[in-house]
Amino acid sequence: MTEIIVVTSGKGGVGKTTTSASVACGLARRGKRVAVIDFDIGLRNLDLIMGCERRVVYDFVNVIQGDCTLKQALIKDKRLETLHVLAASQTRDKDALTPEGVKRVLDELIAEGFDYILCDSPAGIEKGAHLAMYYADRAVVVVNPEVSSVRDSDRILGLLASKTQRAEQGNGGVKEHLLLTRYNPKRVASGEMMSVDDVKEILGLDVIGVVPESPDVLAASNSGVPVILNDESNASRAYDDAVGRLLGEELPMRFLEEPKRGFFARMFGG
């Protein structure tokens, strides 16, 4: 049974593409067959984050318009053999996406036997974001612990509950998960930043993961290696925990507190 997961947020720049890439890799690493699709037509960056930007021959719009087959457009990841990327078009705009076209592509991916289809949504609530969420079974709503991100996510949660196929057909609705990213425990402790509980209270949902703010994320984008593949990073471990929880595992939340520095670290400024 293929599951379609949309990664969305409302607000831009909170970590949707970073999350899509890492979650896709996390699932593939556990042996699942995963396709990750970039819905940000005209402003594509999933291919950059995945490190396959120089291998994009055909894109999502090409497939919808019948210029090529799905197989020709899907890019196989070099590191994880069960992971495939469908890049967005850079030259077209979002009007090239149609609900029927998107449905056809998704149905074909389901027929191909993919376990998970991740839809990397663009920011906003317009056509691209709408189509990315429309056919979803589950949603990962990426939120920064910051007022405008929380407000926009509230809006997106409202849209997920009303303007999706599952909502319209009364099929139990889209299963919603919150993923808190760019969390800084030090700033939370000093009262500058919203805590996990603050976000949960306003949005009325539990979080599926808390990803700490980390310089490794920038390094990951620059090198085209999704951060989850960097074993040394706390962000990577947090993403891996989130993937586990998506699959139903019960894992305790980590990285909610400032790491305690050991004696020698404090002595020698390590």
Binding site: D154, R155, G158, L159, A161, I202, G204
Partner: protein, 241 residues
């Protein structure tokens, strides 16, 4: 050439006379039986003590169909006071009322213009309740969403998010956090109220009279609160106080 000397330190007058308008509850008396009046009005006051307790009421005798005796009227007024309301006038219309008013030392007030909606006391009991249950909203009302209960109350058993709107022709009840806008009495019902469990509203309106909350008053913020219309004034009070 003589100029009148100006009195440099004229004392301020003890009183100022101004004309104002007040909303007044009208109690239409059908029977002068003090026991019955006491029972019914006590019940009314108990149903909404904040609204009715020690509120000024005007007594309208036209439904009696006759001119009551002075002693009857004293008993009626006594019953009204014991129920918790304060008679402050008689609705005028006849010579009998004029003489009663002089004896009872109450002003004669002009006959009421019928309001668009009936006033809560006594008349409310006569109005047939339609019995349609409230519109139930179990899901949070998210930012940008609007929920509207036509011709009935709205009950939300979740949060009304910032930037969301909860609207009803009747009352709005939020068993959760009210962070957005609540608009009760959307088609003019002035007796509609807004209730919430956690008050953080951006705007509250009843029958078009609204208040925006740029800051939340500390006595209301985060607490269970009800809002109601007192004439033209929108009033707020913590629930259960």
């Amino acid at each position: 050439m003589m100029s009148k000397p100006v009195d440099a330190a004229a004392p301020a007058p003890a009183i100022e006379i101004r004309f104002g308008q007040v909303g007044l509850i009208q109690v239409r008396v059908r029977s002068t039986d003090p026991g019955a009046i006491l029972d019914e009005l006590t019940g009314k006051v108990a149903s909404a003590p904040l609204f009715f307790q020690r509120t000024g009421v005007c007594l309208d005798l036209t439904l009696l169909g006759r001119d009551p005796q002075l002693e009857e009227m004293r008993a009626v007024m006594d019953a009204v006071r014991r129920a918790g309301m304060l008679p402050v006038g008689l609705v005028g219309g006849s010579a009998a009322v004029e003489s009663l008013s002089a004896a009872l030392e109450l002003p004669v007030l002009a006959p009421f213009r019928p309001q668009t909606q009936p006033v809560p006391v006594v008349q409310a009991a006569e109005r047939v309740e339609s019995g349609i249950p409230a519109l139930m909203q179990q899901q949070p009302v998210r930012s940008g969403q609007r929920v509207y209960a036509r011709s009935r109350d709205l009950v939300v058993t979740a949060t009304v998010g910032a930037g969301a709107e909860a609207i009803a022709d009747g009352s709005v009840h939020v068993y959760g956090s009210l962070r957005g806008r609540a608009l009760a009495g959307a088609r003019g019902e002035t007796s509609a109220r807004v209730f919430c469990q956690e008050f953080r509203a951006e705007l509250v309106s009843i029958a078009g009279v609204f208040r925006v909350f740029e800051t939340l008053p500390p006595e209301l913020a985060g607490r269970p609160v009800q809002a109601w219309l007192d004439g033209d004034d929108l009033r707020f009070a913590p629930l259960g106080s």
